[in-house]
């Protein structure tokens, strides 16, 4: 899941830095994730993992880092492989 998230982040995150340089717990907002890009990323994640983020996950915290995104997706799609 981690590599898929990284791939989507690099495609939709609009970050000025390369995703490879970011640790799993690096702050994505500090890295330049804008609110527009974060929505684009959410859409891509919903499509890729075939999930819908419930309202309580649609906040800054859930998308603050790659680790937070992983946790958010795992919490709604327990079947998807965490690798």
């Amino acid at each position: 899941m981690n590599s898929t998230i990284r791939e989507l982040l690099s495609k939709h995150g609009g970050l000025p830095v390369s995703v490879e340089t970011l640790a799993d717990d690096a702050d994505l907002y500090e890295a330049g994730l804008s609110s527009f890009a974060s929505v684009q990323l959410m859409l891509a994640l919903e499509d890729e993992f075939d999930v819908e983020f419930p309202e309580n996950l649609l906040n800054r915290k859930s998308f603050q880092s790659i680790a937070a995104i992983t946790a958010a997706i795992s919490s709604i799609a327990p079947d998807s492989q965490v690798a």
């Binding site: 330049g32 804008s34 419930p54």
Partner: protein
């Protein structure tokens, strides 16, 4: 009792009404000359209104957003420029109150706001960026204990009169545009070189000139939280609610004038319903919409305030954006209707029914963070946010 405790013993509404009496006396002159509503701001200071939001522990009165909104509305009915100045000051104060309580410099600053009735200004708008609050070009430079900032601030309301200005910038030279901080700069720590003159259609008294802002100050004056959190958790709601309260005030006074006009006509011809009465009924319903909208937003904000997650949620941001869009648009319809009711006496200046100033002031509402920009932001969130269809939720 000393003078300050005597004043504080009166209700906030009473004190606001006394300021409004001063503001309404000077409103036309402030508008005609495009000058700062100095008498009204002096009256706010005399009534100790500039420090009411500061927690009591720091010398303020711990006033709630609802209480401040009521004052914005009272002042808005008298002089929109004075009311907007008050609301912008309180919006800045809310950032310090919500995000500066743990920092000793900001605690002392809060004490000074209350004790000295300091007036706070804001510089978020930037040349090349416009009203995109969550983006900066300029970057703050931290050099040991000192920070320096230069900003092409194209709109700073009452920049020359403010005692301190809160300025957004990128967090450091290499930071992304959305990685921002907000810093408090005190008068004396900055210079303002005027670049744009505020000669506008309405809101002429806010004196929102453009300046090249250059400052140097101790680095501890940077607010200790990312501006993203300040924007989401205090500024978004406070701005949209308190601005809307001012706008409601403008519209409410216009409706008062239209109603006085219709009543006068009814008295002249007893037994008949004047032609403007039907429009007045329409306008009364629209005004109620704006009022309910602001009240509902206040309730939502109060409920969310205890819960950081709720405050940062999309549902909350969408709701606050919607409040701003609805009130800024609806007041224009209301005041225009009032003008139709009062006819030429509303169109003319200097009559008891004059509405030109109201209409011109109200036109700023859609531009004050462009509605198109806000709609764009909401439409983006609606791609993932699911609406709550319950009536009471």
């Amino acid at each position: 009792m000393n003078k300050i405790s005597e004043i504080k013993a009166m209700s906030l509404v009473e004190r606001a009404r006394r300021v409004a009496a001063v503001a309404s006396k000077h409103a036309d002159d402030v508008d005609a000359k495009g000058r700062f509503p100095q008498e009204s701001i002096d009256a706010m200071k005399a009534e100790r209104l500039l420090g009411i939001q500061i927690p009591a522990a720091f010398g303020g009165e711990s006033a709630s957003t609802a209480e401040i909104a009521e004052i914005c509305s009272i002042l808005g009915q008298a002089c929109a420029a004075a009311a907007m100045t008050f609301s912008m000051h309180q919006i800045k104060a809310s950032s310090v109150v919500s995000h500066g309580v743990d920092a000793s410099w900001h605690q002392d600053f809060m004490k000074r706001i209350a004790a000295e009735q300091l007036l706070l200004g804001s510089a978020t708008t930037e040349g090349g960026i416009g009203g995109n609050l969550r983006n900066s070009i300029c970057a703050i430079e931290v050099d040991g204990d000192t920070c320096r900032l230069e900003k092409d601030a194209t709109v700073i309301s009452y920049g020359e009169q403010a005692d301190a200005i809160l300025v957004t910038s990128r967090a450091h030279a290499d930071a992304a545009g959305s990685d921002q901080v907000m810093t408090v700069f005190l008068k004396g720590q900055y210079t303002l070189e005027k670049t744009h003159v505020w000669d506008t259609l309405g809101m002429r008294g806010t004196c929102s000139d453009g300046f090249l802002f250059k400052a140097e100050a101790p680095a501890e004056q940077i607010l200790p939280k990312p501006f993203a959190e300040i924007a989401a958790q205090s500024m978004l709601a406070n701005s949209h609610i308190l601005w809307s309260a001012v706008w409601y005030g403008i519209a409410a006074d216009a409706v008062n004038r239209a109603q006085a006009f219709v009543r006068g006509a009814a008295r002249k011809q007893p037994g008949t319903v004047p032609p403007g009465a039907l429009r007045l009924a329409e306008v009364s319903s629209l005004l109620q919409l704006v009022k309910s909208n602001v009240q509902a937003a206040l309730e939502k904000f109060e409920a969310a305030q205890a819960d950081e997650e709720k405050l940062s949620s999309m549902a909350f941001a969408v709701a606050m954006n919607n409040v701003k869009i609805a009130s800024s648009q609806t007041i224009l319809t209301i005041i225009n209707h009032c003008m139709l009711i009062c006819g030429i006496l509303g169109y003319k200046n200097g009559t008891p029914f004059s509405l030109g100033r109201h209409l011109r002031d109200a036109h700023s509402a859609q531009l004050m963070i462009s509605n198109d920009r806000i709609l764009g932001n909401t439409s983006n969130m609606l791609l993932v946010h699911k609406q709550d269809t319950s009536l009471l939720g």
